[in-house]
Assembly symmetry: C2
């Protein structure tokens, strides 16, 4: 953990902030005394690495989340990218840009980061703290995998599956944007998301062909999967596992779910999955030969894609 | 490479920006189509990881550097943390927070990042781009090392060495802060720093006992080394290798040098070093038993530490 070091503009309090963070993190952090962290990885595994940023105003507004939730949620969002690859979390690097008006919240933000680090067994091994005009948390997550699950593996005929129930974060966000209180269950899904790390490894062991996490929204993330794999994905809307009070159309657009979408050649044991993880695993459609696209059907008939949906014209 | 994904607040242009960056980077980037990058590392090596942030206003001001220099310099600063550990660069993750008023400069910033990625053989393997109110570049660098050089290895009796000439970046920064034009050679050291990756590996092969890069300034970074190793470091000011027109006192405070400080039990072959790398390697002092501190001498007599110097009271 270093403070950012730039001669003329440097301030005093950053070293103090680093010490405060390390004290706060306790067992959630380790080995932060050098210019870089040194990690031993299991032999034969690949390294899996991702970075994710959460920025005030652009990703959340003050008052929507507690500082602890901001920290927790930022870490879970980053860890979810490891889950999407079925990687085992190994280490996290935390880059904090901290405006003066957030300084009194640093302990709570750190607690949220530390809680996620302990919960997902992903120790904070390094980082950077700088002054800034807006709060941002940029989290690098490092994991390992023997056989990472990629976006590009989906084949024609594969079934598509999704974990959990969809639509809660989107419903919470609609309420917040409208200035009303979200339903507690929707807010919980928004403020305290789960990264499906263990679920992903179970699914990888079952031989899934491709995977992605639901971060932009089901429709958008399915489009990414379709594009990477070069297939048409057909989704039967009546199959979508919906959170209470949410329509299929709303669920398609609900982002920051951090549920997993996977493809499989054969069947998956949904009962065993629910028994093990306490959430459903639902077959929502399948992949077909054709140029990359997502097709939505209801009762066998095609319906229009959501308004915001980009037909991979890019 | 993903754009940051947050439902209600997301904008359209981020996907376009990602595509533009990837096109721009060409061979400097690879393997950015998944939720995370997958990397194969040499067996038996440790992973070395560090994150470094550069933020508008707090680390530089618009007009001091060209957008290309901002990108290049941010990458070199991050790579220098790998050099400090004598690690071999392997991969870089780029998190960009991009305000509207910087959008027209994204190509030039990307070119600077790409130039450094190619120069240091550290391909960009992933990243994140988000809207923001101020420009920030948060770079995660991943390297590998068989035996990483740490801060904590310095022993009583070891000699202290520094690469290159000190004081240029500090002189440039003083001029810029005062609104005058820096001397071209000073500006070059400020705007186009070098990470001493190859020098570090040469020094590691010579069996150096500890190391750190000069990012906060020689006095401050020596203090870090003294604290980590639990020794007194004595520096003979008349030995400091000074950039043209710079005093020893100024050199002590000049940050963002990205030169290396190393300790060694025995002598180092300064002629071979200069022959190989075209820069000097200079013995500047030695370590003594005692409680962690930095002591400055001139002609054998102790002189006061610089005003800003923190006597490790922390």
């Amino acid at each position: 953990m270093t403070r950012s070091s730039h001669t003329s503009l440097r301030g005093g309090p950053e070293f103090d902030a680093v010490r405060a963070l390390l004290a706060r993190w306790g067992d959630a952090a380790r080995d932060v005394g050098d210019d870089a962290a040194v990690l031993e990885l299991p032999r034969g595994d690949s390294l899996v690495a991702s970075v994710d940023a959460t920025i005030e105003q652009h990703h959340f507004r003050q008052g929507w989340l507690t500082p602890r939730e901001i920290g927790y949620r930022a870490a879970v969002a980053a860890v979810s990218d490891l889950a999407a690859m079925a990687a085992t979390p190994r280490a996290m690097l935390v880059a904090l840009a901290l405006p003066d008006h957030w300084r009194r919240d640093i302990d709570a933000i750190a607690d949220g980061l530390g809680e996620a680090a302990l919960e997902y067994a992903i120790p904070i091994v390094g980082g950077n703290i700088t002054a800034a005009s807006e709060l941002s948390l940029t989290l690098t997550v490092l994991g390992t995998a023997r056989d990472a699950v990629r976006r590009a593996g989906l084949g024609a005929g594969d079934s598509l599956w999704v974990t959990g129930m969809l639509g809660g974060p989107g419903a919470a966000l609609r309420a917040l944007v409208n200035g009303s209180d979200p339903a507690p269950d929707h807010r919980e899904r928004f403020a305290r998301p789960r990264a499906r790390v263990h679920e992903a490894r179970w699914l990888a062991a079952e031989g899934v062909t491709a995977g992605i996490d639901v971060s932009d929204g089901l429709a958008s993330d399915l489009a990414q999967l379709a594009a990477a794999s070069g297939v048409v994905i057909e989704v039967e809307l009546e199959r979508l596992p919906l959170a209470r009070g949410v329509t299929a159309e709303q669920a398609l657009e609900s982002g920051e779910e951090y549920e997993l979408i996977v493809g499989s050649r054969g069947d998956l044991d949904v009962a065993a999955f629910r028994e093990r993880f306490g959430i459903p695993l639902t077959r929502i459609g399948r992949a077909h030969r054709g140029s990359a696209d997502v097709v939505l059907t209801r009762a066998g008939a095609r319906v229009a894609n959501p308004p915001g949906y980009d037909h991979l014209s890019r």
